[in-house]
């Protein structure tokens, strides 16, 4: 008996969810902002989950990547908008700059922090995040604590009409693309040698090394991928969309915690988990902010505790065990 599951089936429900979200936002007036918020959480969850799900390392400093992505885009626009001939190219350059900053930070963090395990790793990541924030504020580069405000420059360079379209549609739309790309990369890694290597590393790093696995290399691949995607989300959803950046706004651990909540709700290490977690978290946050402003976290804390106790594998973990043995099984990962 040979069981070769069609490799990428589990992507179908994920892509379907993103498509439905997009269509709902696109066709129903007034829904776009909410859908964009949901996509933001899904994308972040999906990106964070690539590293956490595959390696078992909890990156508490993940927001560093989002923040650096925001700064990459902001710096690109701030310093290049004076060159008119670049046109829309400033956004492309800003995006590349975002990925570049994320790579630098990821490689540096990989070099320092990935040697540590468990809680030490988490603390090192928080340290790097806080350090960067105070470095920017204290050393007064990149605008220091006053941040960069570049919306005006952007309008001047590209015209009000284009900027309107960019900030109200394309910035959000690209978050969907990033989320889908994150899901695809996650799936692709899971089905390739990288996934097997990281499974081994997650279960027993020392034994994995004796099996011929270059643990640091594979961890760095996952870390870098996760960082790039986070930076991409930051560049688009915070940088381009808002038109300004303050260090005190972006280097905030709170966002890492949101990533963790999204992933734990949906199911850590699963492909569909971040989507479901992102939807549940985003929707209830949106809704709670309307009916009980300021109380979201107070309500969320006990919900998270209950979920971790009742369904430690998250919603998707529950779903998986329910669907075991049925034909739908191959679609859930």
């Amino acid at each position: 008996m040979k069981k070769t599951l069609p490799k990428y089936y589990p992507l179908i429900p994920v892509f379907a969810a993103y498509l439905i979200m997009f269509l709902v936002g696109f066709s129903i007036p007034g829904m776009w902002q909410m859908v964009a918020l949901l996509a933001f959480y899904c994308a972040l969850g999906q990106s964070w989950n690539i590293f956490m799900g595959m390696t078992g390392y909890v990156d508490f400093g993940y927001v560093t990547f989002i923040a650096l992505g925001t700064y990459g885009m902001s710096l690109g626009i701030t310093y290049l908008s004076q060159y008119e001939w670049l046109g829309i190219g400033i956004i492309v350059i800003g995006f590349i700059l975002a990925l570049f900053l994320a790579s630098l930070s990821a490689l540096l963090e990989a070099f320092i922090a990935l040697r540590l395990r468990g809680a030490y790793f988490a603390i090192a990541c928080i340290g790097i995040n806080e350090g960067l924030r105070y470095l920017i504020e204290g050393a007064k580069f990149w605008g220091g604590s006053e941040g960069l405000i570049f919306f005006g420059a952007l309008v001047q360079a590209l015209g009000r009409e284009t900027v309107n379209q960019l900030t109200t549609f394309w910035a959000d739309f690209s978050v969907f693309i990033i989320a889908a790309l994150a899901a695809f990369l996650n799936m692709h890694y899971m089905r390739s040698k990288i996934g097997y290597a990281l499974t081994a590393v997650r279960e027993d790093e020392d034994a994995a090394k004796v099996m011929g696995i270059n643990a640091n290399k594979y961890k760095t691949i996952a870390f870098l991928t996760s960082g790039w995607l986070g930076a991409a989300v930051g560049a688009m959803a915070w940088g381009l969309k808002l038109g300004y950046v303050y260090p005190g706004d972006v280097f905030v651990i709170h966002y890492t915690v949101e990533c963790i909540v999204v992933v734990l709700l949906g199911g850590a290490g699963t492909l569909l988990g971040p989507v479901i977690g992102g939807l549940i978290y985003g929707l209830s946050k949106y809704w709670l902010a309307v009916i009980m402003p300021g109380f979201q976290l107070l309500i969320f804390a006990p919900i998270i505790i209950i979920i971790i106790v009742v369904a430690p594998e998250g919603v998707v973990g529950l779903l998986k065990s329910k669907l075991k043995g049925t034909k739908l099984e191959m679609f859930i990962e």
Partner: protein
């Protein structure tokens, strides 16, 4: 040319000399038993060979290459396979995935795809007789099954030299018999050198190994043909703590070995 050559290898932990100037040569296809009481430095020696520890002195040469300072993960693709004393399966992964991981990162690492590796895994799973558990999580296997799985995983690496750390510890006599037969088969079919390490001089080693190295307090005590090593008075002393009646020891051991072979 020797497949593995240790030259005066010394490994210290603080003031403790765990491995003391050990020199050893292993030829391709040879079967060597390393025996020695608890704490005699056997596992440390294994760890020095496959790169978990770096020795303070001496050289490790594998297949003509000096690998003394090479990290563990680079040694495996050269052809060093290993099983652990206490099995270390990748618990949440299935048996098939565990064995496939061996194939993916062993000597064939550059050549196999994931699908190839899964096929290779199936072959070795059948060889160790775990086909019924192929899709089960490796963490749920019994200790004996885990040992078999580890052997399959190590074999899937296609090593030139297989280091087996206490392959038969904690097994009942029936399982030991099965394992001995199985290891004999591996040696014949795979044509690889095997170094098997055991704490006690067991009939198993006597029936399997061509050569026995006896370790005591980190140093190599005896390195000789199996029959000579097992009857060496120094070995008897290490195990019994005092010189024994040599002729009685000799006859007892060989009675057991012969019974085994018949």
């Amino acid at each position: 040319m020797a497949l593995l050559k240790l030259e005066n290898v010394t490994k210290r932990f603080g003031g403790l000399v765990a491995v003391d100037k050990v020199s050893l040569e292993i030829q391709p296809g040879e079967f060597i038993g390393i025996v020695g009481p608890n704490g005699s430095g056997k596992t440390t020696l294994f760890n020095v060979i496959n790169g978990v520890y770096r020795p303070e002195e001496g050289k490790v040469i594998f297949d003509g290459k000096d690998i003394t300072r090479m990290p563990a993960f680079k040694r495996t693709p050269l052809g060093l396979g290993r099983t652990f004393q206490i099995p270390r399966p990748f618990g949440s992964a299935s048996v098939r995935e565990n064995v496939a991981i061996g194939a993916m990162f062993g000597t064939l690492a550059d050549k196999v795809t994931v699908d190839n590796a899964l096929e290779i895994a199936d072959r070795y799973i059948n060889m160790v007789g775990l086909e019924a558990y192929r899709d089960k999580a490796a963490g749920t296997l019994t200790p004996v099954e885990k040992k078999l799985m580890e052997i399959a995983r190590a074999l899937a690496m296609r090593p030139k030299l297989l280091l087996m750390d206490e392959a038969m510890a904690g097994m009942n006599p029936k399982d030991i018999d099965g394992m001995v037969k199985f290891i004999k088969r591996i040696k014949e079919e795979e044509k690889i050198a095997i170094v098997s390490m055991v704490e006690h001089i067991m009939r198993a080693v006597a029936g399997l190994a061509e050569r026995v190295v006896v370790m005591n307090q980190g140093a190599k005590l005896v390195d000789a043909k199996t029959e000579e090593a097992l009857t060496d008075p120094r070995v008897v002393e290490v195990y019994l703590g005092h010189p024994a009646d040599e002729s009685k020891w000799r006859s007892d051991v060989w009675k057991e070995v012969r019974n085994k072979d018949e």
